[in-house]
Every structure is written in C-alpha cells, then in structure tokens.
C-alpha cells in the first residue's frame, strides 16, 4: 500500500488529479464529506489530506511514503527526505519586504518578523548581517507598520497584500513551488511505484508546456 500525503486545499486537488493520471485513482476522494483518509485497496494506494505545512513531517516520519510540499516548508524544516520533482505548481517567492522608503541602517541589529525563522536566519547569515528574529504566526505584514520589526521575510504571491499595507519587496530570497517528496526508506522498498508516479508527472508537465 502506497501512502500519499496531500496538502489540503486547491493545490492538493490539482495534485491528486496528477496522481490519478499516473494510474493511482481513488474515486472516493471526490465524495463531498469530511473524511481525511481515502483508500483504493485494489490499486494499493491510500491518500490523506493534511495541513500543507505538515506534509513533510508525515513523509519524513514514514506515515506517508510520498507527498507534496511547498519548497518554503522544505527550506524551513529541512526534513531528511528525497525531493524528487518540482511540480511548478503554487509558484510564489520567499522575499524580504519593508515599508516603502526603507533603508537598512547597518549600525543597528535588523529586526526581522517572520514565520520562517530558519530561512531568514540562513539568508542573513549568508550576508553576515546581525539580526533579531521575531517569530510570528500570521499577519506578518503589520509588524513593520507597528514598528515591531524593520523588515519581514514572508511568501509573496502577487504582492497585493504588501501594496495595500504600504510595503514593498526589497529582495527575493528564493523562488517557491510545490515539490514531490518521498521518504528515503520507502523509496528503497516501494521504488517501482514511486518511480512510476515520478515518470508520469514528468510526462504530464512536459505535455502541459
């Protein structure tokens, strides 16, 4: 049985369609109910919906053999997994943003508000900049407005939220998209099925170009 962790939401639905095309359908997943686990015993596959930021944990810990997770989550938690394929879905970027007109005063420690403490630390360490991380769980954009931080490190899709809050992007840290990931041990023992999915997804991406 191949266990697949899918991120809840629109991205997960798109990704499921790709798995289905790859020969691993599970019709019950399309039923409108609150179930979280769906199984197609005949095809030997079980899907479960999990919070997008938890997919990597399910895969790393072996509860799921494969899954789809955002690159932001992989960079933040650095799970010990295989990152097999860039699905080019859910594209956005991890960026540094601040109030319009911001200028980095290098005489002071830079205060950085973010949900992604690891990504922010690595980024500023690579630049040798001394920073103070302020870990927030949401509404990061208001931190510079209220003077809580000098900059924020967050995911930027269209930039509309930033604009509406008088913020602008100062630097792009890394582009983000959804990745097909696999548990390392599962890949040893279920490699044939995982490779079948990988090859099909590569072909589907190629077709879509």
């Amino acid at each position: 049985m191949l266990n697949v962790a899918l991120p809840k939401g629109r991205l997960g639905e798109k990704v499921y369609a790709m798995f289905e095309k790859a020969g691993f359908p599970c019709p019950s997943i399309k039923e409108n109910n609150r179930k979280l686990i769906f199984e197609n015993e005949e095809r030997g596959v079980r899907y479960f919906w999990v919070k997008p930021s938890d997919v990597a944990i399910y895969v790393e810990r072996g509860a799921a053999d494969i899954g789809v997770a955002g690159k932001d989550i992989l960079l933040e938690y650095e799970p010990d997994i295989y990152e097999l394929f860039d699905l080019n879905l859910g594209k956005c970027r991890m960026a540094v943003a601040a109030m319009a007109g911001f200028r980095d005063d290098t005489r002071r420690t830079l205060r950085v508000a973010t949900k992604f403490a690891n990504i922010a630390s690595n980024y500023y360490r690579s630049k040798g900049r001394d920073i103070d991380i302020i870990h927030l769980n949401g509404s990061i954009e208001i931190a510079p407005i209220l003077g809580l931080s000098d900059v924020i490190v967050d995911i930027v899709e269209t930039g509309t939220t930033l604009k509406e809050n008088n913020l602008q992007v100062y630097d792009t840290i890394v582009p983000i998209s959804a990745r097909l990931i696999a548990n390392k041990a599962s890949y040893k023992f279920k490699g044939a099925e995982i490779d079948q999915i990988l090859r099909s997804m590569e072909a589907q991406m190629e077709e879509a170009k």
């Binding site: 790393e60 295989y82 990152e83 097999l84 394929f85 860039d86 548990n183 390392k184 041990a185």
Partner: protein, 364 residues
C-alpha cells in the same frame, strides 16, 4: 520476553566478536572541548554539559566515534572495536534531549580493501539480524569528490551540490550546474549518476563507463573490487549502489553507507570511512566504522499482547497461605502468568479470575 532491541544486541555482540572485534566500554562523560572542536561531525550541536569537581566543562557523550578516536592509541596494524553505548542528543524536531542506545564498530589503523569489505559485510549482516527485508545502500565520497573536481564544480558550491545529490534533487542540481557554467554533458553525467542506483550487477558496468576518464582509475577499481567481493557473497541481494548516500565531506572520504529496514522510516544503520576526521584529530592512521540505531528497533516490535496476565488469583485473610502458594505454583508451572491480588486491579487485562476468598471478588 526479549524485546527486538535486546535480541538484536545479543546477536550483534556475537557477530562482532566472531570477527575479532573487542568490546570497548567507555565513560558516559567526555570533555566538552572534543565536541566544540568537531561540531560538524555531530548530528546536533546541542550537548548536555556540566562542570565537574575540578572546574572542567564536561559533556554527556552525544557521539561514540569521536571518543573512540580520541581515547584509542595509534598502534601498528588494525584495531577492531565494537561498542554498545547510550548517547545523549537532540533528535531532529524533538524539543528535548533523548538517551539513545547505539551499537556499532570501528576499525582503525591500516585500513585496506579487506577491512572495508569486512566492515561492509558486518553492516549487511547486522541488518540481516534485524530483519529479512533490508537494504544496504553504498556510495563513495572519494569518487564523488574526484568527479566534482574534474567537471569543475566551484569549491563554494560543492556542499550545496552534495546536498542536492543526497535529496535526489535533479531539478536544483541542474540549475546549480547551469549557474556554475558546467557543460551540458557534465551536467547530464551528474544527473545520470544520481539516477543510477540499484543492484551492483546492473550498476557497476554502467558506473565504469560513466566515470571513466573523470575519476582516478585506482579509486574506481577499489570501489568496484570491494563491491564485487560482496556481490559474490550471500549478501548480494541486499546491496544497492546509490550515490545519494552522502555524509559530511569534511570528515568522511571513501565508502559511505546506510542501512534500511522495511517498516522503519529512516536509516537504521549508518557508517563510512572517516580518514579526514582522523587527520583532524592529528592521527596518521585510517578508519571505517558504523553505528546501528537501536532505539529505532522498538518500532519493529509486534503489537503488544492482548492480556497482561492469564490469571488474577484473589485471596483474603481467610485464605490459608499453603493453599495460596500451592495454587500459584500449579498455575505458573502450567505456563500461566499469574498475579496474586486482594482486589481486582482496574487497569489490568486478564483472561480469568480465580477466587480463593470466601466472598465475592471486589474491584480495586
């Protein structure tokens, strides 16, 4: 009843002794300085420290290999040692320290192809003593390093490239090569190397043609010879060549390997040649070794038994002691697990109650 961990520990002790490895028992503590100097060698930077009575900063051992290298003397020939120790470290994602049982072996001295093949065979046999469904992935950091040099990977990009290789992350590996102006042929070669994995019989010929002219023939020949010597043994079925197995290139050099057991989420065994660590610790000899993470084995335990005991034997102050003793002896001799109680325990799962009291049984 023995747990998986106890059973495996016993068979590993027998296995390692049979190959002439001596048990190496060590102290739980080590001077913190050893770990401060070799932080990158540790799984985690976090170490439990304390000041001893003489004012020295000490640590509860987070790793065994460093202590063995530090405390063993450089002698002629080869020293073969095995250990069964607890280490104290923060595991990834955990919010505190854990005590982890680790068993393994180290081979220090004039390590040659025979020593390497013996250690690899013992790693394979260690896995086999855990389960019938196991895989030993083998790679060679020397080959990888020579390949990176020969195709011109910039020094500051090597660490990142090795990380991508370990993740089988072809898309980012390709992007890195493009940014580093690596030729399309060499990029394709690297991609091929990451994708080339499997049984030695299939992979070795492919590898020889893939790496010919890119790495030293001596390194490639040693890799092939050692793998071939194992592939001819009864371990052949569990061996896989997989270049995504990597370790810190600042400490490890030649063969590196990881063992997997079906049903366990990560590698249960990890090892390699660490001549670079020896050099850092001012030793001129070479070394290879591996560790088995015994704490992971508890996940292989069969589901717990349905019953905690077979019989609850109830007595009170009216029950004559001789007849109580006689009942207990009779039941245990018949192979039952018996608990003698005055009242029925509430959290106990039992098959039956034998009541030696005059009244009705009462619950605790």
């Amino acid at each position: 009843m023995q747990t998986s961990c106890e059973r495996v520990a016993q068979s590993l002790r027998t296995l390692y002794s049979r190959y002439g490895y001596r048990h190496y028992k060590m102290s739980k503590f080590e001077e913190y300085d050893l770990y401060a100097k070799n932080k990158d060698f540790l799984v985690s930077d976090n170490v439990i420290t304390f000041t001893d009575l003489g004012g020295k900063l000490m640590a509860l051992k987070p790793d065994v290999t460093l202590s063995i290298v530090k405390n063993s003397k450089e002698l002629p020939g080869v020293q073969k040692l095995y250990y069964n120790e607890n280490v104290y470290r923060v595991t990834k994602g955990a919010h505190g320290f854990r005590e982890i049982q680790q068993m393994g072996l180290e081979c220090l001295g004039t390590v040659d192809s025979y020593c390497i093949s013996e250690v690899l065979e013992l790693a394979a046999q260690s896995l086999r003593s855990i389960s019938d469904e196991t895989i030993l992935d083998i790679s060679h950091l020397g080959l990888l390093a020579e390949l990176m040099n020969s195709i011109g990977i910039p020094a500051d990009q090597k660490g990142t490239l090795v990380k991508f290789i370990s993740e089988k992350n072809i898309h980012e590996l390709t992007a890195l090569c493009q940014n580093a102006a690596i030729s399309p042929e060499n990029t394709a070669l690297l991609r091929e190397l990451v994708c080339t994995g499997g049984a030695p019989a299939q992979v070795l010929p492919k590898l020889e043609s893939l790496l010919a002219g890119k790495v030293s023939p001596t390194t490639l020949a040693q890799f092939t010879d050692v793998i071939q010597s194992l592939a001819d043994s009864d371990m052949a079925q569990m061996l896989r060549i997989d270049f995504s197995v990597v370790d810190d290139i600042h400490y490890y050099n030649g063969f590196v390997f990881k063992g997997f057991v079906n049903g366990l989420p990560g590698s249960v065994l990890s090892g390699g040649q660490y001549d670079k660590l020896m050099k850092k610790m001012k030793r001129t000899d070479k070394a290879i070794g591996f560790a088995v993470y015994m704490d992971m084995l508890e996940r292989l335990e069969a589901p717990g038994e349905e019953w905690d005991v077979d019989v609850v034997l109830l007595y009170d102050n009216t029950t004559p002691l001789p007849s109580l003793r006689q009942q207990v002896n009779a039941l245990t001799t018949a192979g039952n697990r018996v608990t003698v109680q005055q009242t029925i325990p509430t959290d106990l799962r039992y098959k039956e109650i034998k009541n030696l009291t005059k009244g009705e049984p009462t619950n605790a």
